[in-house]
Subunit: 269 residues, 2 copies
C-alpha cells in the first residue's frame, strides 16, 4: 500500500489493520488527521519504573500518553484492539544501546516482561499550526524535521538522563507569538517551544548540520524556533545501554483512536 | 504555630522548616499562595509501577506532579531540600487497607523500598477561581469541600481501580462557563469539571450527605459542579489492601516551590 493509498483509508481501524497485516509499512505523518499519534518505547519491567520517572520529570520532551500492563501488547486507553507487536509500520531494535535492526513486526521479539510506553508527538502541534495558517517548511519540502542535541540538562531518573534533543522549525517573526500560544494548548505534544532564536545559546553549533533529520533553510525574515523532541527519550534509552529496547522507527508512529484535541488521552468505548 | 502565624511566614523554605520541625501541624489550605500544593502517596516499589499506571490512566482525578527515587525521601523536582519524612504537617498510615494512625512525622516508618508520588490538588484551581471573582462557598464558610463516591468508572492499573471520587462546589449558572474555561488551564490540578447539575446522573444519592467533608448548601440560583478529586487515589490505594500506604492527612498537603502557573511542575535552581 502506498502512502497515497493509506491517506485514503477511511477509518483508524482500517488503517491500523493495514499496518497490522504488513500491507502498509511507510511513515505516518499526515495520516489519520486529527488522531493522536504516539512515540513508542518498549522495555523490560525492570527498567520501566525508572523510565517513567525520567519521563515524568521531563514532561516537555517526554509526555506520557499511555502505558501497558507488563507483558500485555494491548494499549486499551489509546484505542480498542491495539496490539503493539504488529500495529506500528516499522520498529527499531536496540541491544545494549546499539542499533540492531529495523523490522515491521516484533511478535518474534516479544517477551512477558515487556512494558510499552506511549509518548505524545510533534505531529499534533504541527497540524494545529498549519490549520492556523502557519506554514511548516519541512512539510512543504517533504523533508524530515531537523533535530539537534542541546546543552539543556534533563532531570535524571535511574540510568536515564542526559541533555534534551530539540526539533527546529523556521517561523516568520510575526507568527512566533501565536505559534507559542497554540502549542501551549498541547502539553501532551511537547507544549510551547523551549527556545527561540540563537542556536548557540542552547549548544547547537551549526543549524545546517542537524544531528537527525534534514537541514531546513531559515530565511532572513524568519527565526529558528526550537521544540522539545521525542527523540530525547530514545537518546536516553540508548545511552543507558539497557539490554533491549524497541522503539518506533522515526516517523513510523502508533496511530491511536484519541482525538488530538481531547482533554485526556483516554479512549472511551 | 497557629494557622494565622503560618499564613504570615514569608517564604516556602521557612514554612516547610516550621512544618519539618513540628512547629506547624495544621491544614495548608490558603498557605503559601501561588505555590503548588500536592497530595502525597507513599507505597512500596513493588506496587509503585501499578499505581503510576493507574494514575496515568486516570489523569483527571490523579495528575502526577512528582515522583521520588525508591527509598529516597527527597523530591527534588518539587523543591530543594524536601524531605517527605518530615515535610507534611500530618500523615495517615494505612495497613492492609485499614486506617492505623495519624502522625506528624514518618521517619520511624520509613523504609528503603518506599516510593513517594505527588499528585496535583484542588487548591490550585480554587485559588484561580476566587482570583477571577468566582466565590467558593466552603472556603467562605470555613468548611471542608464535600466529596462523593460516584458511578464514574476508572481505568484499572494492577490492583488499583474502582470508581471516581468527586468534589462539589455550587456555582451561579452565569459563572459555570468561565469556571470551566479557567479550570481547563490546570490539567495538573484536576482540569475542567467532570459533571454539572444532576447529582443522580453520576450516582450521588444525596448532595447533603457527602461521603467525605462537610455538606454545603446549593441555593436556587446555583448549580452543583463536580470536579475529579484526589481522594480517588487514596480510595484506590485503600481498596487494593496493600500492606502499607502512607498519605497526607486530608488538607495537610506538601507545599512545593513550584508556581501554580508553571508550564511544568519541575523546579529549577
Amino acid at each position: 500500500m502506498t502512502y497515497q493509498e493509506a491517506a485514503r483509508v477511511k477509518t483508524v481501524a482500517d488503517l491500523r489493520a493495514a499496518i497490522r497485516d504488513g500491507a502498509f509499512t511507510g511513515h505516518t505523518a499526515g495520516l489519520a488527521p486529527g488522531k493522536l499519534q504516539c512515540n513508542i518505547a518498549i522495555l523490560s519491567a525492570e527498567h520501566a519504573i525508572d523510565f517513567l520517572r525520567f519521563c515524568l520529570r521531563n514532561p516537555k520532551p517526554c509526555p506520557i500518553v499511555g502505558i501497558a500492563e507488563t507483558g500485555d501488547p494491548a494499549l486499551p486507553t489509546l484505542g480498542p484492539d491495539i496490539d503493539i507487536r504488529h500495529d506500528l509500520p516499522r520498529y527499531r531494535l536496540y541491544r545494549e544501546g546499539r542499533f540492531v535492526e529495523e523490522v515491521t513486526d516484533i511478535a518474534a521479539h516479544w517477551r512477558d516482561d515487556m512494558v510499552s510506553v506511549a509518548l505524545g508527538c510533534s505531529f499534533t502541534f504541527e497540524r494545529a499550526l498549519m490549520a492556523a495558517g502557519i506554514p511548516m517548511r519541512h512539510v512543504e519540502q517533504d523533508l524530515t524535521v531537523p533535530m539537534y542535541r542541546t546543552n539543556l540538562p534533563l532531570v535524571s531518573g535511574g540510568p536515564f538522563g542526559g541533555t534534551m534533543v530539540v526539533s527546529m522549525r523556521p517561523l516568520r517573526g510575526q507568527d512566533v507569538p501565536r505559534a507559542v500560544e497554540i502549542c501551549a494548548r498541547y502539553p501532551l505534544a511537547h507544549g510551547a517551544p523551549v527556545h527561540v532564536g540563537d542556536p548557540g545559546a542552547i549548544g547547537i553549533a551549526a543549524l545546517q548540520r542537524p544531528d537527525w533529520g534534514d537541514p531546513v533553510p531559515v530565511t532572513a525574515d524568519e527565526v529558528p524556533v526550537f521544540w522539545a523532541c521525542g527523540v530525547t527519550s530514545q537518546n536516553a534509552l540508548l545511552s543507558a545501554g539497557i539490554p533491549l529496547v524497541i522503539t518506533h522507527a522515526p516517523g513510523h508512529m502508533l496511530i491511536s483512536d484519541i482525538d488530538e484535541t481531547a482533554e485526556t488521552p483516554i479512549w472511551k468505548p
